[in-house]
Subunit: 231 residues, 2 copies
DNA sequence: AATCATATTATTGTATACAAAAATATTGAC
DNA sequence: GTCAATATTTTTGTATACAATAATATGATT
């Protein structure tokens, strides 16, 4: 019997391979906490869920494994690997250091146009703070940091920074909900721009390291609270 | 007809999945320059070459794509992506900065045992230099750097450093062949250890940044020579 | 001969088939 | 009832089958 199965959908320049689409979807599901640490990613269950065969699912899983989002035990399956408290703090520290590096390089390489973009992002951030628009704040905050990565003048480094930034996204979001954190974060942003404008690389590095370091601290504090609350 | 195909070999704790073994093999082939930039990784050719079907080959290819070693054009195939001169210099700069970060953190966290290990690695390095044993030098040099990564006290950061270090391995090896480079590199190692012993984080960071930065410079010089020689 | 349209082939992406290993259930001995 | 040994089921890993698209060849037209 010949089954007329549609292999892929060609809508615009969108995803073409099911495996790609599924890898992205699974990554998103893991990042948004739809899966717990240690959960097995059942191939046949996912195949049914996504309406495809096991083949594209398995290809997607390979990608998750290489990304470090999941772990593969041969002949046992693929299991999601959510970072624990220790690894998370390490990731925040690494993010702080990488941002500091970006800032140090950017201080000597940044363009006037990019400085103006940072100013605008901060302006929109301030507006978001006054109107208590967390989502808008988050968006402009992201633009702020991405601009600094790009202005490091090193696209490889910028790519690595983006990767980690994306990975930490769900955790960073949490600490932003803390009372007064948005306003404090804004002040830190101003200091960063001031350092960049002055072309002071050491100061820019310190400001960025502290800014991200505080995020990690706040997040750790949140986790501790959750932990003690659970006891 | 039933074919008695052996799925996998269980020799010791070795590789179990063909896909894993093939991914490693392909990565090695790309790193050692067996493939040129833009070469298509032909599924059926590789399948024949490795004596397996296309399925494990394709799973291996997914891994290469995520690692950034290859690029996938939907419906076209997977192509190896060797970093060009610009990207290579960016990678060296990033490596220098990451090593500097590791050194800065290590200066405040390193153990006496690790300091002794660095001293020993340098001693063996010096011996290798006098006996012109490039391989031995390379091995101890690697141990030196890996120890510093580990002593950053941040295993996530150390992992990232290891990744990039591994990626740059074939390129770093080249510049070591330059006249007097090994001796110069040794002196730089001594300075790094001195800074770490003194617990001077700024000095350790600078020493490591310069050390790796010089590697990048030497490599760039080599590339320029190759380029002009080709004209 | 050059160019465009069509036919052919090759290759990718997915589905299915099947063997090996792991997980689970069942049975039997004590 | 508990534990161990065997049987059954599930699941992984790989091979193969097949449809859709890309690449190439063929041929008609000028």
């Amino acid at each position: 019997m010949i089954v007329a199965h549609v292999v892929c959908s060609y809508i615009g320049g969108m995803e073409i391979r099911h495996a790609d689409r599924i890898a992205d979807a699974l990554e998103e599901l893991v990042f948004t906490g739809q899966f717990n640490d240690g959960d097995r990613l059942d191939e046949i269950r996912l195949a049914k869920q996504f309406g495809v065969s096991r083949t594209p699912i398995r290809e997607a899983l390979q990608r998750l494994v290489v990304s470090g989002i999941a772990e593969q035990l041969p002949r046992r399956g693929v299991f999601v690997r959510q970072p624990g408290p220790v690894e998370l703090m390490e990731m925040f520290e690494t993010m702080a250091e990488i941002e500091a590096v970006c800032g140090r390089l950017a201080a000597r390489r940044i363009s006037d146009a990019a400085l103006a973009e940072l100013d605008q992002a901060n302006r929109l951030c301030r507006e978001a703070v006054s109107s208590h628009d967390t989502d808008a704040y988050y968006l402009e905050n992201e633009r702020f940091h991405h601009t600094i990565y790009a202005q490091s003048g090193n696209s490889y480094l910028a790519g690595q920074a983006l990767r980690l930034h994306r990975r930490l996204k769900p955790f960073r979001r949490l600490q932003l909900r803390l009372r007064g954190r948005m306003a404090q974060s804004m002040a830190e942003h101003e200091e960063i721009v001031a350092a960049l404008k002055a072309g002071d690389d050491q100061r820019a590095a310190s400001a960025l390291r502290d800014h991200v370091g505080i995020q990690g601290e706040k997040f750790r504090h949140l986790m501790m609270e959750l932990r003690t609350a659970a006891e």
